[in-house]
């Protein structure tokens, strides 16, 4: 039984496929969907101090866009959240807070990990998440 699904989006192409599958399952089970975007704290911390706030705002705006995409795709009420921190850890916390039965993530991050390697966030989530993790790989360009 799935009552609650956490969908972690980073706006990437691989998340789009995971989103479609997760939303379909959520719909079929009548589950709540909780979409999450995590601003990577290391991205913010790595920036010069005087631009950090602007960078944070820009990343949060990216997050709102990614979350809006999920909301549109779902066609139903979902909750959205933007958190800042270490992505895998924030995803885990969000899953606990929402009593998730399933967590959906993409396989490749924004940093463009090579397709032969699982993105670091995906790996960390899959390794540590106490509930099942759904992943769908990004299709290579030209193979769709």
């Amino acid at each position: 039984m799935i009552d609650s699904v956490v969908l972690a989006t980073d706006g990437s192409a691989s998340v789009a496929r995971a989103t479609a599958v997760a939303l379909d399952l959520a719909r079929r089970f009548g589950a709540e969907v909780h979409a999450l975007y995590v601003v990577e704290e290391s991205d913010v911390a790595a920036a010069p101090e005087d631009v950090r706030d602007r960078l944070r705002e820009a990343l949060e705006a990216d997050g709102e866009t990614a979350l809006e995409d999920v909301r549109e795709a779902s066609g139903q009420a979902i909750t959205t959240a933007v958190r800042e921190g270490r992505p895998a850890s924030e995803i885990g916390t969000h899953a606990r807070e929402h009593d998730a039965d399933l967590v959906a993530v993409g396989t490749r991050g924004r940093h463009g990990e090579h397709r032969f390697v699982l993105g670091s966030v995906a790996e960390a989530v899959v390794r540590n998440c106490p509930v099942p993790v759904l992943t769908v790989r990004q299709l290579d360009a030209g193979s769709a």
Binding site: M1, I2, R17, A18, A20, V21, A22, D24, L25, R28, F29, L102, T107, R115, F116, V117, L118, A122, E123, V126, R127, N128, C129, P130, P132, V133, L134, T135, V136, R137, L139, S143, A144
Partner: protein, 156 residues
């Protein structure tokens, strides 16, 4: 395995191993598949190494005449998957098809999934080293990166 408007699941394949985690995995797969009316395959792959170890052990038993060949290995694997299914789904209304195979795990899983047009795989993510340390399965990572459809991983 690409279709317009990806859907959650039409035919699922759960990778059955000989670990405790496997039962949790199979139960998850069964609940999800049954919940959406999807077909469920339970696949156990016996590796060449396991096969030859077992053949050697059986050959060393005095007066053991029965042949242990690849057909028996596949059948044994299918039987194992079936046993797991029956145990996990006892009293529950979950249909499944046990499948046995002999060969390289990664290749066999992907081949069987393709042959049977499966769009959703279930696999366990965690292995434990002899010291109990949790390892991220390379097999799991390979399957996630190679399979076109959805892969749901259970851990812990």
């Amino acid at each position: 395995m690409i279709h317009d408007g990806e859907c959650g699941m039409d035919r699922a394949l759960a990778v059955v191993e000989g670990t405790e985690e496997t039962k949790r995995l199979v139960r998850e797969a069964g609940e999800l598949a049954a919940g959406v009316g999807a077909e469920l395959l339970l696949l156990h792959v016996t590796t060449e190494g396991e096969f030859s170890d077992r053949a050697d052990s059986l050959a060393s038993i005095p007066n053991y005449d029965t042949e242990y060949n690849v057909d028996q290995a596949r059948d044994g694997a299918r039987q194992f998957a079936d046993d797991i299914g029956r145990e996990v789904f006892e009293g529950l209304d979950v249909e499944y098809e046990p499948v046995g195979a002999l060969g390289d795990k990664e290749r066999t899983i992907l081949e069987r999934a393709a042959e049977r047009d499966c769009d959703h795989l279930f696999i366990s993510g965690q292995k434990r080293s002899p010291t109990g340390k949790a390892l991220f399965g390379d097999l799991t990572q390979s399957v996630i990166l190679e399979f076109d459809g959805a892969v749901t991983v259970t851990t812990v």
